[in-house]
């Protein structure tokens, strides 16, 4: 168990290291430097700038310094927003994204599992069919289309919900709905197929032969085993919601990291792009790590098989 966790942790660190290095060297590979695109700067000032950003040193030295800074939580200074620490920008915008993300994850799991369970329990009946049509739509229709459509219908036309901003509970509804459409669909399908498998498993017949009531079987045997695969999806789902939020925040004007990211890309604010990329990377790999660990606790079989991948 300890070995398994250590193994996964080490794996996470390696991946992170590669991401950071790749980010760094890719940014260095950009022809010219961030200041060439600006209007002509006097050489003296240019040199000052170079010195300030440490661009006068050899690349390897810059790299080592960058790694060290990141370990200390310092992502450098934004190039376009005067005297703004990247980590400060991230810190300021993260709370909105975090709130949105956590609500979305909770909603996605609850709704997705409930939908999938209903579909499995009412297999081949109306609820099942409706749920599966919704699931296919959810998977196929891109989140930005869902978001725009929801915005148009419920905010712009019906005026039930606010169009933009992030000021209170009502402001959550549309972004969360748009953000969770796809995860809900995935979880519902996953839950359904795994529940169906469990419902037809021999050990359910054994449980029936024991004389357990249907409710007892459902709660003790079916649900637990049925939602197990959902745990494995938590990591990818977090990634899905995080990347999705980039677009959703933009559409609904939510001042989160995602929106900041889009802006940084559009003005080519390299330190900020790097910072957010790495921050996202840490977040997502952490989510994956937690998922891997969580799965061991849910599924006793995994201890023997030493890490089921994929």
């Amino acid at each position: 168990m300890v070995r398994y966790v250590a193994n996964k942790f080490f794996f996470m660190l390696v991946s992170l290291f590669i991401l950071i290095s790749a980010t760094f060297f890719l940014m260095k590979a950009i022809p010219g430097d961030p200041f060439t695109s600006e209007k002509k700067v006097p050489p003296a000032i240019q040199e000052r700038l170079y010195e300030q950003y440490g661009l006068d040193k050899p690349v390897i030295q810059q790299y080592v310094k960058y790694l060290g800074d990141i370990v200390q939580g310092d992502f450098g200074i934004s190039m376009k927003m005067i005297n703004q620490d990247v980590s400060k920008i991230i810190g300021q915008t993260f709370s909105a994204s975090l709130k949105l993300g956590v609500v979305a994850i909770v909603v996605a799991v609850i709704v997705g599992v409930a939908l999938g369970m209903l579909a499995a329990l009412y297999h081949r009946r109306l609820i099942d069919n409706v749920a599966m049509v919704l699931a296919v739509l959810g998977i196929a229709v891109p989140s930005f289309v869902v978001a725009s459509l929801l915005q148009y219908v419920f905010a712009s036309k019906l005026h039930w919900l606010p169009t933009m901003g992030f000021k209170g509970p009502l402001y959550y509804v549309l972004p969360v709905a748009a953000l969770t459409a796809q995860p809900i669909a995935f979880i519902a399908r996953l839950t359904r197929s795994s529940m169906l498998e469990v419902l037809h498993a021999d050990y359910i017949k054994t449980a029936k032969a024991k004389g357990l009531s249907w409710m007892a079987i459902l709660f003790r045997h079916v649900i637990r085993n049925g939602i197990m695969p959902v745990v494995t999806y938590l990591g990818p789902m977090t990634a899905n919601i995080v990347t999705g939020s980039v677009v959703i925040e933009q559409i609904f004007g939510i001042g989160g990291i995602g929106k900041q990211f889009v802006q940084a890309i559009s003005v080519r604010d390299y330190p900020l792009i790097m910072g957010i990329t790495i921050f996202y990377g840490i977040l997502l790999m952490l989510a994956r790590f937690v998922t891997d660990i969580a799965y061991v606790f849910v599924d006793p079989r995994i201890k023997l098989t030493k890490g089921k991948e994929g």
Binding site: V141, T277, G281
Partner: protein, 320 residues
């Protein structure tokens, strides 16, 4: 009770000795073959054909593809404009007889642009899927076939690559390399092939211990021959399904990149970039978003449904 007295069954009265004549074996059909045996592929095709949803999806896909290429031509013949010709007197106009899908902010015809955009999106989707297929099959084939050390190292490598969120890598790459059709496709495939390689690896590993492979090996077939003649053709089902399902993923990813301004650049348009362009005024000019959004949703929907149908047809065991 006398155990020796056999109690005879009650019988209908009208039996004759003739009823008790033996029938020769030729009169019997002991070993009737119940069903005509059909090949696995024809079997799969029949299952697919009977799946109405999947067939509808296939028809929709064909229609979209055909329209994507024929649609702009029609407009050119009828009205004489192409996807970049702008009509500055008619900007942001709703659908009309001359502009079937309306016009955008530069007065460009949305009908033509939507279908041009569909061409680009399909191209990106298919190209990315093909490259994924190519790399994935080779990489996965090697992993699965050789196994052991080779597999371990190669697998670890792909796992690490996979654990890095792929959209981040793609974004980074496109920030560095200026976005063009080529770089976008390249960026999309940088980690896209991994999934395919795992599918192929899994299939090959399962197949390689089967009797027919062992038989072929024992008759001296070489590695390459084994891999390409015996293993891969038998893994074709899951490969096709994966390709089918990876096309909409690539289309979506390109649309997502367009949102960040990293998709295909003007004057070329993809469905994603058109939706992004339409976003600013979309509450006032809904048609600018609506048509590309409908086409992209329909395309992805059809690919997903068809892919699912294909999987059910090719692997009846999985069918629930």
């Amino acid at each position: 009770m006398d155990t020796n007295s056999i109690k005879v069954m009650t019988t209908p009265a009208d039996l004759t000795p003739d009823d008790f004549r033996k029938i020769g074996t030729d009169e019997k059909e002991a070993e009737v073959i119940q069903r005509e045996s059909i090949s696995a592929w024809r079997d799969a095709w029949q299952r697919l054909r009977s799946n109405k949803m999947a067939m509808t999806a296939l028809v929709v896909l064909l229609l979209i593809t055909i329209t994507a290429f024929v649609g702009p031509l029609i407009s050119k013949w009828v009205h004489g404009y192409n996807y970049y010709s702008n009509d500055l007197l008619n900007t942001n106009k709703g659908p009309s007889a001359t502009h079937w899908f309306g016009t955008d902010d530069l007065g460009r015809d949305m009908w033509v642009r939507t279908w041009k955009g569909t061409q680009i999106s399909l191209l990106v989707g298919f190209a990315a899927a093909c490259i994924d297929l190519f790399i994935g099959v080779i990489y996965g084939g090697i992993m699965g076939y050789f196994g052991g050390r080779v597999d371990e190292i190669m697998n670890k490598f792909s796992e690490i690559l996979y654990s890095i969120p792929y959209l981040l890598v793609t974004i980074l790459l496109l920030v560095v390399m200026e976005p063009s059709l080529g770089t976008i496709i390249l960026a999309l495939t940088i980690t896209g092939w991994i999934n395919m390689s795992w599918i192929v690896r899994g299939e090959i590993m399962q197949l390689k211990n089967r009797e027919f492979v062992l038989a072929s090996r024992s008759m001296g077939a070489g590695s390459g021959r084994l891999l390409f003649r015996h293993l891969l053709p038998n893994a074709v089902g899951p490969i096709i399904v994966t390709v089918t399902l990876s096309v909409p993923n690539a289309i979506f990813a390109e649309a997502f990149l367009s949102f960040l301004g990293l998709g295909v650049q003007a004057p070329i348009a993809s469905l994603g970039s058109m939706i992004n362009d339409a976003l600013t005024g979309w509450l006032y000019y809904p048609w600018r978003m609506l048509f590309p959004a409908i086409v992209i949703s329909l395309t992805m929907l059809a690919f997903n449904i068809f892919g699912d149908g294909l999987r059910d047809a090719l692997d009846p065991k999985l069918k629930k």
